[in-house]
Amino acid sequence: MQPTAHAARLGLSRGWTEFRHYLTYPQELGWNLFFVIVFGVVLLFQRNATVEGTTLPLAMLTLPGIIGMWVAVTGYQGAAGWLAAEREDGTLLRAKAVPQGMVGYLVARIVALSLITLFTLASIFLVGCLLLPGLAASARSGWPTLTWVLVLGLLATLPWGAIIGSLVKSPNSAFGLTMLPIMGLTAISGIFYPITALPGWLQGVAQAFPIYWLGLGIRSALLPDAAAAVELSGSWRHLATAAVLGAWALAGLLTAPAVLRRMARRESGSSMEARRLQHQQRV
């Protein structure tokens, strides 16, 4: 039996177990469902407004943006926060104490985060379908695009979340370091209102980061082709989407293993204890 492959298999089942825990513990599930409801309310208010110059409801434009943003939230904040929390509570140290435990841990983390993202996105989509009768029909042909944008989007953000989670000293700083940039980028990435309304240099900044492209990619999957007219260059720019997300994914996947290894090597009971004491002292 090949130990690494064996550990990866254990990681798969571990990821599934963690997803089941997520579904049965009300705290996190409730938090995510709360967001789904907030988004639902946003959609509800936008239902009767239309995009300028078209008959498309504004909410049809917002929903894919929300989905794209949520992928980034999971990728950055979810991964960073989870890793930071489990470094603090000793989960990671326990993984380090068993042979190939780190392999299993990382596989599980990716599986669980992906499943949770899918679950949340499906709930947002479902709410969208209830509120926007046109959505289900226009989304029907978009599944292939949706799939590659989601996968590439997770790959473009997850490794960076893991890097941040490895470098920070506490879950709180992981939250701050990820949530603030996400909120800032969301504001300029055309998620809740069109990016075309922003000054050119802000458009440039937004297009350097994954959130804009996630939103664009998912809009291209869920909206009728005519909706591309309101985008920046009047087209869905699939190639550019794949290029930018792919570049972030590649850079992240090349950087993350070294950072994670360094973090894992330094993890010990006493360093954990020291961080915890520091944390408690501050409070």
Partner: protein, 230 residues
């Protein structure tokens, strides 16, 4: 079974973490099961069991879920001699395992540890602040102070090395007596020779590990003070 004792900050956890391969040594050579822990691979890791001081992890997991999951990592390393995953460990590190245990849990834990070391042939390194526990469990005791070993031996050997004084208590004619002596056996023999049946409630107390520990650590601190003032 080896017990590692010493005041807080003496380096017990540091030592155990270096041996576990969780922390790099700053100097010197380390060999665990014939391998330098800094380069220990996963095969080496599979022969070692680590009981962590922390317990806040995996809060959502059921015990059997977690045991099955973690045990699973050992299946590729099972051998004909040690076929069950839970027996794969040849060497077990316990860093203050009984801190916070109630007396019954402590007793159960001691039984388990005894079984592991006697029947399963596992070598165990234990750190603890509970000196009675160390005395009861360990074949060999190391006392650490400021990163150095200041004593090494069985509880008996250490006691002899340090104090050599035993306390003898007895009653005679309704009065209690206490006497400290290096040779309790001889003192008691003479006591009986002198007073015979009048001696009652006889009690001989050898220096306990606690006494030994106090003397050793105190002696080390004294030496340190002298060095500083010299």
């Amino acid at each position: 079974m080896i017990a590692l004792l010493g005041p807080n900050g003496a380096g017990k956890t540091t030592t155990i973490e270096i041996l576990e391969g969780f922390r790099m040594r700053s100097a010197g050579e380390v060999s665990v099961l014939g391998v330098d822990p800094a380069n220990g691979d996963e095969r080496w890791r599979a022969r070692i069991g680590v009981v962590l001081q922390s317990w806040r992890d995996h809060g959502r997991w059921k015990v059997h879920e977690l045991l099955e999951h973690l045990g699973g990592y050992y299946t590729p390393y099972a051998t004909p001699e040690r076929p069950r995953p839970q027996d794969v460990d040849e060497l077990l590190f316990l860093d203050e395992p009984t801190a916070g245990f109630d007396p019954l849990a402590r007793r159960d834990f001691h039984d388990l540890v005894h079984r592991l070391s006697d029947l399963e042939d596992t070598t165990i390194l234990l750190t603890t602040h509970d000196l009675a526990e160390a005395e009861q469990l360990a074949d060999r005791i190391l006392i650490l102070a400021e990163g150095r070993i200041v004593a090494d031996g069985s509880a008996d050997q250490l006691a002899r090395e340090v104090a050599g004084q035993a306390e003898v208590r007895w009653s005679r004619g309704g009065e209690r007596f206490v006497h400290a002596t290096p040779d309790a056996t001889r003192f008691v023999r003479e006591l009986f020779a002198q007073h015979g049946d009048e001696v009652t409630d006889l009690e001989v107390r050898r220096a306990s590990l606690e006494d030994t520990y106090m003397v050793m650590v105190h002696r080390h601190e004294q030496g340190h003070l002298q060095e500083v003032s010299a």
